[in-house]
Amino acid sequence: MIPIPSLFPLCSPVQNPKYEFKIRNTNLETWKVKTMYQLEDVTKTYERRGQTVTALANSTLSLAEGEFVALVGPSGSGKTTLLSMLGGMLAPTSGRILLGEDSLYDLSVADRTRLRLERLGFVFQSFNLIPWLSAVENVQVPLSLAGKSAAEQRERACDLLDRVGLSDRLEHRPSELSQGQQQRVALARTLANDPKIILADEPTGNLDPASREVAMDYLSGFNAEGRTIVMVTHDEFAAGYATRTLRLVNGVVSDETHAAKAA
């Protein structure tokens, strides 16, 4: 196991974030948890070649603040569609999606864009680094979009890359980094504007087992800081890090965690 420097000295008393939290529970009788996302009868359909394809069907669910949610299901089941809708990038055909107090798709495009900039972070399967920018410049991109000064950008980017163990690769381009290192740069970029929510689409899909574990340990650490994580994954190992699992089959969401507990 690759040792990871302590990223979160001020985090919760739970020392090993890999294991299931004992205190988080959506049973409102014992613990009131703030809702981060609320989906109200959300449906998403596409018209393709004269046929209607239902990506998400009448979904109603809540995602609490600080949850680590895994979205699992077969290919084409609507996982990425749901993730896109949570990210404010894909409006539902019907229904509402609330992010905190705001109805996400009643906001303007500009407001949703600002919301993504300030409150959301993304992790992608293919890392989506800009190939002609160095590692530190890639991390600076969201800081630049947020209007930070050049000095602030540089300082914060260097700090984040140092935390993911890449302080010696600041000026390297993505093509000069391994896939594991590229994903760590992407993780550093995700944290650039200190998002409260991280949406991850198959973050371990292109990683070897060792890098996979490193990436998941980082994500788990982010969650331990209080960030809400929604992660689409096919990887059982990655899904094991989550505190809650939602399964999508043919556009229908079922909560496997609750089902398992009920059983």
Binding site: S84, G87, L90, L117, F124, N128, L133, Q153, R189, N193
Partner: protein
């Protein structure tokens, strides 16, 4: 990291697709700058010529056509020298001076030269004295018909170097020569030196100051010496008539045509009208070339930008997911177009100016200087074309679905 650095880095990383577009834009501006530069300075030279020689009239053999005033005697055809005597004795109104010329080829120290025979004014005064007209101040014409605007200043004809400006000379011995500045430098001669022409010794009376015309490369000798040495007989190539003002020059034409019906009489305005027409055509054509090349460049930029948008779809989707607004994405591409336009405008101005500096003297015999106004014109139009051509691709980029960031490569 900011928008400008993002644009520059991407351009530096992928310069090749933009190069063809940039070349087309640069060529368009180059064509405009080069041609406009040459035509403007050519027009200035013509205007200067008109100012200096506007009152002058040329009498030429009937079949001669003329492009350059200063090469009026270099066509090889001749007419009788008797025409000169006729003109001098006619004492036409508005005539200040007569300058008949005969141009032959010669060599000095095996260096080929153009030898021009000219008749000093003293010869006319001699003729006038034979006619009993010695008391008159002007031996070749009268000041009837003269206006306030004068032609060449003839007050200093006694100085041999006045030939450069007044195109006449008071005295020139039959064994004396006057050399143009460029030819003197080439031969290494100066005033007072001796040189050999057609086997005879001549003394250099003066070296003319530089005039910027072909006279700088000529040697001038007495007309009758040149006729004798070249065995051409009593003939001349041209009779240059210096009028007292442009108005008188116009009325001289009919008098001269009546007096010398077997010759061609033309004014400076007629000499330069061909060049004026050429300049006008070149100026119009420069705008045509400019427009065509810019349109080609614009189409190329649009094509390359569309391809660039398609190539960067996932990158654009990622930027939007990270918080880039559609306006930011639009500025990303329009900023790139602006840089292309500016580079094309500046590059085209530099290349066009250099081209004009090389071709101006060769094509039209004019020296050109950089014209800053053309930099502004090139810069603005190239930038506008680049931005306009990139507008639709930029709009397409800004309208891309951010969900592209989730697509696999």
């Amino acid at each position: 990291m900011n928008l400008r650095s993002l644009i520059w880095k991407e351009l530096r990383q992928r310069p090749t697709p933009m190069m063809t577009s940039l070349i087309a834009v640069t060529l368009g501006v180059t064509a405009l700058v080069a041609i406009q530069n040459i035509t403007v300075f050519s027009e200035q030279a013509i205007a200067q010529k008109m100012e200096n020689l506007g009152a002058n009239v040329l009498v030429l053999p009937q079949s001669v056509s003329l492009q350059d005033y200063y090469a009026a005697d270099m066509h090889g055809q001749t007419m009788p020298e008797a025409n000169v005597t006729q003109l001098a004795l006619a004492r036409l109104p508005g005539v200040q001076n007569l300058a008949p010329k005969l141009c032959v080829s010669a060599s000095v120290d095996s260096i080929p030269i153009t030898l021009t025979g000219i008749l000093p004014k003293s010869e006319f005064q001699t003729k006038s004295s034979w006619q009993g007209l010695a008391l008159l101040s002007n031996s070749v014409g009268s000041d009837r018909g003269c206006c306030e605007t004068t032609g060449a200043d003839v007050s200093n004809d006694n100085d041999p170097a006045s030939l450069a400006t007044t195109r006449t000379i008071q005295q020139l011995g039959k064994d004396e020569v006057i050399i143009g500045s460029d030819l003197a430098a080439q031969l290494g001669t100066k005033s007072g030196d001796q040189l050999e022409l057609f086997g005879e010794e001549f003394q250099v009376l003066a070296v003319l100051p530089a005039t910027g015309t072909i006279d700088d490369g000529r040697m001038f000798a007495h007309l009758h010496s040149v006729q004798r040495l070249s065995d051409s007989g009593p003939v001349v190539n041209v009779i240059e008539i210096m009028g007292c003002c442009e108005d008188a020059a116009g009325s001289l034409i009919s008098d001269l045509s009546s007096l010398l019906p077997e010759t061609k009489v033309i004014t400076i305005a007629q000499v330069v009208e061909t060049q004026v027409a050429v300049n006008s055509l070149m100026s119009r054509m420069s705008w045509v070339f400019f427009s065509i090349l810019l349109l080609v460049g614009g189409a190329s930029i649009a094509s390359v930008m569309y391809a660039n948008v398609a190539e960067r779809r996932r990158e654009i989707g990622t930027l939007m997911a990270l918080g880039a607004t559609p306006g930011y994405v639009t500025r990303l591409f329009l900023g790139k177009a602006t840089i292309l336009g500016v580079c094309g405008g500046v590059g085209g101005f530099i290349v066009g100016t250099i081209l004009a500096a090389i071709l101006g003297p060769q094509l039209l015999g004019v020296a050109v200087q950089p014209m800053p106004v053309l930099l502004g014109v090139g810069l603005v139009t190239a930038s506008i074309v680049s931005i306009a051509a990139s507008y639709l691709p930029a709009r397409r980029a800004s309208g891309l679905d951010p969900c592209l960031c989730f697509s696999e490569s």
